[in-house]
């Protein structure tokens, strides 16, 4: 017996070692691979959702651009009838230009970072038992003939090594009838899934703890409308066609991640809501004033009725519409509940309330040739509230940055003090969020 270098001893003995794993291992791998594929399908769905969101956004911007153009033309036309109040309007459109500018400026980012361009990242496999996997045909690895020469080490025969293996496992190995193999199939993946899940959750918790705040500039396209059909201006216009106009809201939002599922957000938003009452006939020098308007000096038009209900002589200047604009500073407080999330995507439900402080209040009369302010609505409350509901999808570029889009519906309460017109608005809020 000669002294032997211990390294060489092990190298020689363990060279070309092969060990056949249990068939259960392949079954769990196969299950995991199948689930990965299913996940892949979700990603395709997400991609479509992403494309749709970007397309929608593009549509809003385009739409907004056009509306602003038309407004500009109207203003140009109305220069002949310049009134002090018109300056207010110009101010307002400056504001809108600013909004448009910010949208356009932020737009290239949106497109560059949009989910559609992102290369599909396959996230860590999450093996859940909930979704029943398709029946598995076990592929038991059999040694190829060429490997027969190799030293074999059959686990199943050397029980002495595996004292630590649980009894149930040994039973499966010892007695390989189909029933028990089935049992192994169903129990083995469960063990694995727990481990993977726990690790993943731990990592995610770490991440969440690191960055629990997020700040985002937000832009939203708003569509306003009312639950009740009656006019917000005067009962005499209840018959006239009323239409909610598109407008834009922008602001800053700050969010706090309170737990894995719950997020709270607040912020400050500027918004202008518009309602147009169309197809109206303005009548000059009438003795009765419109109920809801405190007249400014200039306009000579003192009454208006829905076109349909008027029989008499009409001039070009007497037909038109009333644009009611009411602008607010909005301070929302909302809670977000996470329904599901991956490393890249997450989806939430949102509920909350907003306090609105009235900042702009204008009634604009537009006829074929002119546009001028008819003054302020007297029935608007300086402070009112909205009930907010919506959902939210986040797309994470990396640990610090994410893009989010949330369709929200906000029901206004206490908007008018004398009126049953119940306005609400639908907004598509988007933001680029920075976590810190």
């Amino acid at each position: 017996m000669e002294p032997k270098n211990i390294e060489r001893l092990f190298q020689e003995k363990l060279k070309d070692l092969e060990i056949t794993p249990d068939s259960a291992v392949w079954n769990t791998i196969e299950t995991s691979l199948n689930q990965k594929k299913q996940k892949g399908k979700y990603f395709i769905w997400f991609r479509f959702a992403g494309i749709a969101a970007v397309a929608l956004l593009g549509f809003f911007i385009y739409n907004n651009y056009n509306v602003s153009n038309i407004e500009k033309i109207l203003e140009d036309n109305s220069i002949t009838n310049t009134t002090p109040i018109l300056k207010e309007n110009i101010k307002e459109t400056d504001l809108e230009k600013l909004v448009r500018k910010t949208i356009i400026e932020s737009n290239p980012n949106l497109i560059v970072n949009s989910p559609t361009v992102q290369k599909e990242k396959i996230t860590q496999q999450k093996t859940t038992q909930k979704t029943a996997s398709t029946p598995i045909i076990a592929v038991v690895p059999t040694k190829s003939e060429s490997s027969i020469d190799h030293k074999k080490f059959d686990i199943t025969q050397s029980k002495s090594i595996f004292n630590e293996i649980s009894e149930s496992k040994q039973a499966v190995l010892a007695n390989k009838n189909t029933a028990q193999i089935k049992k192994a199939k169903t129990t083995a993946p469960k063990d694995k899934l727990d481990l993977a899940d726990v690790l993943k959750e731990k990592e995610e918790e770490k991440e969440l703890k690191k960055y629990s705040w997020a700040i985002a500039p937000t832009v939203s396209q708003l569509f306003s409308s009312t639950l009740a059909g009656n006019s917000s201006i005067d009962a005499s216009l209840d018959q006239a066609t009323k239409k909610g106009n598109n407008s834009t809201s922008y602001g800053v939002r700050i969010a706090y991640q309170a737990s894995k599922k719950w997020q709270f957000q607040t912020g400050i938003h500027q918004l202008n809501l518009k309602q147009t009452t169309e197809d109206i006939l303005f009548i000059s020098n009438s003795s009765s004033d419109l109920f809801g308007i405190s007249y400014s000096d200039k306009p000579s038009i003192t009454d208006a009725v829905a076109n349909d209900s008027f029989i008499g002589f009409k001039t070009d200047n007497s037909e038109g519409s009333i644009n009611q604009t009411y602008g607010y500073i909005e301070i929302p407080f909302e809670a977000k509940y996470g329904l599901f999330h991956t490393n890249i995507f997450s989806f939430h439900l949102i509920g909350g309330v907003s306090t609105l402080f009235l900042t702009t209040n204008n009634l604009q009369i537009e006829t074929r040739n002119t546009s001028y302010s008819a003054g302020e609505a007297t029935n608007l409350n300086p402070i009112n509230f909205t009930l907010n509901f919506g959902s939210n999808a986040e797309y994470h570029f990396n640990k610090k940055w994410y893009f989010d889009i949330s369709p929200m519906i906000k029901f206004q309460t206490n908007t008018f003090d004398t009126n049953t017109n119940k306005p609400y608005f639908f907004g598509m809020y988007t933001g680029i969020n920075y976590k810190f």
Partner: protein, 179 residues
Amino acid sequence: MTLPQIIEDCKENKPEAQAMIYELFAPKLMAICFKYSKNKQEAEDNLHDGFLIIFKKIDQFKHKGSFEGWMKRIVINCTLQKYRKKNVLQLTQEEAQEEIFVEVEESALNIDDLLYMIQQLPNRYRLVFNLYVLDGYTHKQIGNMLNISDGTSKSNLSRAKLILKNKLENKELKNQNTF
């Protein structure tokens, strides 16, 4: 069907190709997992995770170099990853001893016993011994892989060898007593 063809099919996520790759290489990779892990259960977990990574990253394999070597590296990294996460690699540094010899009757040693001895080593000793002795990594590489210094790797190897030597000699004694 040739191996490169099977690999290409795997890149398209074809289940039959994945099953074939598993069938061809699972025994060799299981042997690696077995050496690097504490027990069979852990080895099977590592094999499972290793194969998932292999199938996920197979499109990165460009047929340069050995496919088996590529898979081995993934599986080894996968097992090391677990220990990095568990942070069980903090042991103190000791003096390294280069060559260690043992007097044993080689024919009386069976592979099961040797594997069992390796598995019984403390985690980092086991990893360093495997990486250096059985898979031919240098101390520098091991240092990088395990986030330790070259010296620590050397001293760990030395400790591992001493433990194995004791075990082998005890076994030898037992064998002699039975005669």
